[in-house]
Amino acid sequence: MVKLTINGTSHDVDVEPDTPLLWVIRDSIGLTGTKYGCGIAQCGACTVHIDGKAVRSCSLAVSDAAGKQITTIEGLAANGKLHKVQQAWVDNDVPQCGYCQSGMIMAVAALLKDKPKPTDAEIDQAITNICRCGTYQQVRAGIHAAVAAA
């Protein structure tokens, strides 16, 4: 049994301790906004926050997340108000298929927490999530909009 805190709620899950956190979030807890893309931490579709840092949950054993604060896309909005990155995504109509965008938004939110006004070079270095629809131009516009909204 592993004890997890996800979006402020405590969960006891009965899984093998080396199960990747992604599958616990999706299948055991039922929060499906966090996506599976590659399983080898290449694409970032599974990005969540652990103690405020962006982590690719497909490659982290659930036992290593025990006792930490886990935030998923479902927990990013606070008090019924979208996070500024989510709002910027809406305002700039960023998503196409949308499958990568949970991870993209979580990665960007963590970046802006760390660096409220990143340069384009810092954005390029930090945001390496794959978007197969190729929304990158809107992603960059969205990041700048979120920075401006801060």
Binding site: V15, E16, T19, P20, W23, R26, D27, S28, G30, L31, T32, G33, T34, K35, Y36, G37, C38, G39, I40, Q42, C43, A45, T72, I73, E74, L76, A77, L82, Q86, W89, V90, D93, V94, P95, Q96, C97, G98, Y99, C100, Q101, S102, I105, I123, D124, Q125, I127, T128, N129, I130, C131, R132, C133, G134, T135, Y136, Q137, Q138, V139, R140
Partner: protein, 729 residues
């Protein structure tokens, strides 16, 4: 051929129509809350099949095509809303199911979402659906207000009687309108009066795509659901020899069953997908790999190379006598190009959830063609279509992968049949997905051109050698052994994908060579390589003629004014003829596909082996532009997809199997590599509707390649460019 879904669309239409005749299926809503959210309209009565107006004035527009990111959902809603005269701010949507379409005699027409057809092929009947609903609402209002309908006007969801100043809203008369007979004579608006079509409306599906709420096939959850992981033979054509159905990994619980799927795959069913996958990964499986295991990229390339010089080919374009003109040319130029296999890489791996009983088979999945999936569910389950249903979810990418090949749906049903009554979600691992795709076909091309003594282009022969998609995927669409789609963008004329140059003698022909690797429709399909072959070769010819590449093209485009127009716009916007920034070189290309005319111009710098694409101008004439903001996004996205294939992609074959198993060996463009894309939409409004999702994909690679050649003097003719040591900076 193991995975070939036996779908003949034409016969399916006949059989579904016949089935509908004896059916009285109502709108049975899906059983799960997650799916009920998609069904949306709840119990509000419909005005007609396309439109539901709720008492709170919410307008639900029904969308038959699939939404996979291309924005069709929003564009189609705009088409309906234009004629409906509703308040756009109150518009929402729902997806009818394929089973409902069958039950209602295909009232929503076609569900097929590929070939950039979503808006092209349905623009008329969806607008008519909106107009009919408006007319019925106005008729109902006329009865309510006891005035002639001709004295009423409708705007923003409100019907007004100007003479008396009385008003009634759509929501008030919707129930009465739904009981009226549909109008017979429907007159659509003149395009000059459009108010919603042509506007950069925000996508209707954005809000649920930023908070994790949007449900994709992979997200389906049903009570009592189990999970399945699958491995098919790594060599297409091979079969399973043996495996242990009682296999267990000591440290992993929850496994329910290990089953064979057809003769070529093994699936583990467990109470979690991770447990299923972990057990499957450890399970020893012996395969009969068959003779295909001897095939490699080198053997395929050698076979295709023979086809470049085969005596005769299947002809796609013949004007004059190219061979004779080449024989007598003052100067001949020849070049050989090759384009590799490409995987679709939908970021959502293939998946389907199926529940089978002796009396009913239901599937929840991501599909570009719900009706084809339904037909396959019926065929695979052995149950009539009336006892089957497919619940379409959002697609985490389609790009053609989920259009004609529903192998994952077939597998899911075959697995579910082995545990009747239990819903089972089949999910392919990324490794399974990468190695069991339906790949962009592999081709080579030899292009030969002749000049007269005055450097006028007199003849061109394009010999394509390689794989036909239709021969494998849709043999019914072959024409006397010829795959007409092979010649996309090179046809002698027509409204779909015509050759844009006036050359006195032209021959385009095809030596068909079909390796065992499955070919498929990959975003843009055959124009991807055809545009590279033709447009790079045009630059080679311009160089030979000592002319500027733009001027060289213009000289032979007078009879193709639409091709010429987009080329000219691209040239103007990139600043062709003006000095480029220091160290930057330019390239240009044009083509036609899916009824649209497209051109691109690139600004590129090359430092050592690093290529930086700074700017890409994309120009498209799709006839009509329903939502310019979404078109711009499709242009930019298509450029990413096309340039990924050009630089980073490419699938290779070793021992009969695809070598790239995950993203560590099949990389894709990231944010840092994204050029500045400027999209220009120049619709010609002349009655022809072109596509948007695919066409522009094909012009970015040749524009960039031409810019690289201008920068370095080196002409690259084989791809991906990583094989030449080039990286995308």
């Amino acid at each position: 051929m193991n995975y070939m879904p036996k779908i003949d669309r034409r016969s399916f239409l006949v059989s579904t129509t016949a089935a509908a005749g004896g059916l009285a299926l109502g709108f049975s809503l899906p059983i799960d809350a997650a799916e009920a959210a998609d069904a949306g309209a709840e119990s509000a009565p419909e005005v007609n099949a396309w439109v539901v107006v709720k008492p709170d004035e919410t307008v639900v527009i029904r969308i038959a095509r699939s939404e996979m990111g291309q924005g069709t959902l929003t564009g189609l809603a705009q088409l309906v809303a234009e004629e409906l005269e509703c308040d756009w701010a109150k518009v929402t949507y729902e997806f009818p199911t394929p089973g409902q379409n069958v039950a209602r005699k295909r009232v929503w027409n076609d569900f097929f979402t590929a070939g950039s057809q979503g808006i092209r092929a349905s623009n008329k009947f969806v607008r008519e659906g909106g107009a009919a609903a408006r007319m019925m609402l106005v008729s109902a209002a006329a009865a309510e207000l006891s005035v002639p309908a001709s004295e009423l006007t409708a705007a923003n969801g409100v019907i007004t009687h100007a003479a008396s100043g009385r008003k009634v809203t759509y929501g008030k008369v919707a129930a009465a309108a739904g009981k009226l007979d549909p109008p017979k004579d429907i007159k659509l608006k003149d395009p000059k009066d459009w108010k919603v079509i042509g506007q950069p409306k925000k996508r209707l599906d954005t809000p649920i795509k930023v908070n994790g709420e949007a449900k994709y096939g992979i997200d389906v959850r049903l009570p009592g659901m189990l999970y399945a992981a699958i491995k098919a033979c790594p060599v297409n054509g091979g079969t399973v020899k043996s495996f242990d159905t009682g296999f267990k990994v000591a440290s992993v619980g929850g496994v329910k069953k290990i089953v064979a799927v057809e003769n070529n795959a093994v699936a583990v069913i467990a109470d979690s997908w991770w447990r299923a996958k972990t057990t499957l990964d450890a399970l020893p499986i012996e395969w009969n790999l068959g003779d295909n295991a001897k095939v490699s990229s080198a053997s395929i390339a050698a076979w295709l190379k023979e086809g470049l010089d085969a005596d005769t080919g299947l002809v796609g374009n013949k004007t004059g006598d190219a061979k004779a003109a080449l024989a007598s040319a003052a100067k001949k130029v020849e070049a050989v190009y090759a384009y590799p296999y490409q995987h679709h890489v939908t970021l959502e791996p293939q998946n389907a959830t199926a529940r089978y009983t002796d009396d009913r088979c239901e599937v929840w999945t991501s599909t570009q063609n719900g009706e084809a999936a339904l037909a396959l569910v019926s065929e695979t389950s052995g149950l009539p279509i009336a006892k089957c249903e497919v619940y379409k979810q959002f697609l985490g990418g389609g790009f053609g992968r989920r259009s004609t090949s529903h192998d994952y749906v077939k597998q899911a049903v075959l697995i579910a049949k082995q545990m009747p009554g239990v819903p089972i979600k089949l999910l392919w691992s990324r490794e399974e997905d990468m190695t069991h795709g339906w790949y962009h076909p592999v081709t080579q091309a030899k292009l030969t051109a002749g000049f007269d003594a005055d450097k006028n282009l007199t003849a061109m022969h394009i010999r394509i050698s390689g794989q036909s998609i239709l021969a494998t995927v849709a043999p019914a669409r072959m024409q006397e052994g010829r795959d007409p789609a092979t010649f996309s963008g090179l046809y002698p004329g027509g409204a779909e994908a015509a050759f844009g140059y006036d050359i006195p003698n032209v021959l385009v022909d095809h030596s068909m060579r079909n390796p065992h690797i499955h070919p498929g429709f990959w975003r843009g399909v055959n124009i991807n390589h055809n545009a590279i072959y033709l447009e790079c070769f045009m630059d080679e010819l311009a160089k030979e003629a000592g002319m500027d590449p733009l001027e060289f093209r213009r000289k032979i485009m007078a009879k193709h004014p639409k091709h010429l127009h987009v080329l000219n716009v691209a040239a103007e916007k990139i600043g062709w003829g003006t000095p480029a920034p220091a160290g930057v070189s330019r390239g240009i290309a044009q083509h036609m596909g899916f009824g649209s005319y497209i051109a691109a111009a690139a600004e590129v710098s090359v430092t050592g082996n690093k290529v930086k694409v700074h700017r890409l101008v994309g120009v498209t004439d799709p006839g009509y532009a329903v939502n310019p903001a979404q078109i711009e996004r499709q242009v930019a996205g298509s450029f990413v997809y096309g340039l990924t294939g050009l630089f980073l992609g490419g699938n290779t074959v070793k021992d009969g199997r695809i070598e790239q198993e995950n993203f560590d060996t099949y990389d894709m463009m990231r944010l840092a590599q994204m050029p500045k894309v400027e999209a220009y939409v120049v619709p010609s409004h002349d009655g022809v509707w072109g596509g948007v999702g695919e066409p522009t994909i094909c012009v970015a690679p040749p524009a960039v390649l031409n810019a690289i050649a201008a920068a370095t003097g080196t002409r690259h003719r084989t791809f991906p460019l990583r094989d030449a040591g080039l990286t995308l900076a």
